[in-house]
Symmetry: C2
Subunit: 201 residues, 2 copies
């Protein structure tokens, strides 16, 4: 499986420390149907993974430095409680963010993926945020802001999908598959937040 580097700090995909998801594969299959996620979408996500493979650093930098850094209520989640930068935390989290782009495109959405979805969600709640990095920062990221940031990611990733000269029709299909996947993930996260930390909306 393609990784952005051999050693991504705190990246535990498929590891023993990752608990089994409280959402079942059967529930996942039903959400896939609701979102209209098909085998064609899987194929176009694989293509997107190839196209984005060497651009993940730029993409995440655009999101973090170009957008999030300018929105105080979002930027604070990778800063200290006093609002000071935590460069190591941000750096590690950015590497995982990069890898998440590849995992979204290239991983099969199986039990291991579902379990890691829960792990990622947990790491945005007070149950696990800051732990793997050993930092002090905001206790959780409100779900509402995670949900709201999806269209921003959807919009801004599209030019990167078009950057390798693919036909517009193929870029559109890559993008559609990406949008479906992100909403599928949001649907899962919402369930996990509601089950685990209902007050962290």
């Amino acid at each position: 499986m393609k990784k952005i580097s051999e050693n991504i700090p705190g990246y535990a995909y498929g590891g023993e420390a990752v608990s089994k998801s409280s959402i079942s594969l059967q529930e996942l299959e039903q959400i896939k149907i609701s979102v209209g996620f098909t085998a064609e979408d899987e194929r176009y996500l694989r293509l997107a993974g190839e196209v984005l493979g060497d651009q993940t650093k730029q993409i995440v930098e655009h999101w973090r430095s170009g957008i999030i850094a300018n929105i105080p209520h979002l930027a604070r989640h990778s800063r200290s409680p006093e609002g000071n930068p935590l460069p190591n935390y941000l750096g590690a989290s950015n590497q995982r963010f990069q890898q998440w782009i590849l995992d979204t495109c290239l991983r099969p959405y199986d039990q291991t993926w579902l379990d890691y979805q829960q792990e990622i969600a947990l790491r945005h709640t007070s149950l696990k945020k800051n732990q793997v990095d050993g930092v002090q920062s905001t206790p959780h990221v409100p779900l509402r802001d995670i949900i709201a940031f999806i269209p921003v990611m959807n919009e801004t990733i599209k030019p990167f999908m078009a950057a390798k000269g693919h036909l517009l029709a193929d870029v559109e299909k890559m993008h559609l598959a990406w949008c479906k996947s992100l909403q599928l993930q949001i649907s899962l996260w919402t369930g996990l937040y509601a089950k685990l930390t209902p007050n962290e909306w």
Copy 2:
């Protein structure tokens, strides 16, 4: 304000029976920032409202008959507990669905709009589903399926936005504004579901 007909069954926008939203205008403003919702998006939503104004019936029919009707776990929410059609319920709900398209495009996102967001969300939970129509059907619509259906609506509404011969760049901007608004609404609904009925994910 443009309405699809003078008398929409159960449509209570701005009415006295609608409670004040448990989400504040201040929280709404912050979510708007997270989603990147700007004055330009408002303008393009107004344009979308003009373009879609006489197409809402076709759009909702496409969603209901073309898509939802073929997905049993979604179709059941407008049927009886035994799975029989409830044409009056479906008809009334479809009219409100049509009007929601216009409200999304044309209403200012003020306290009245926020309050009605809560009313609509409530009507998908066990607290209020079926009540205004006086029917027996599923007790609630799982939030995960509402979230997951968003990309389907986003994808399928785009051709309707392009149907009046607007420049592709304008269609793209209408569509982007629409996608942001729907995710903004999902962000609100998630909060309302979590506060009101945390187990109905």
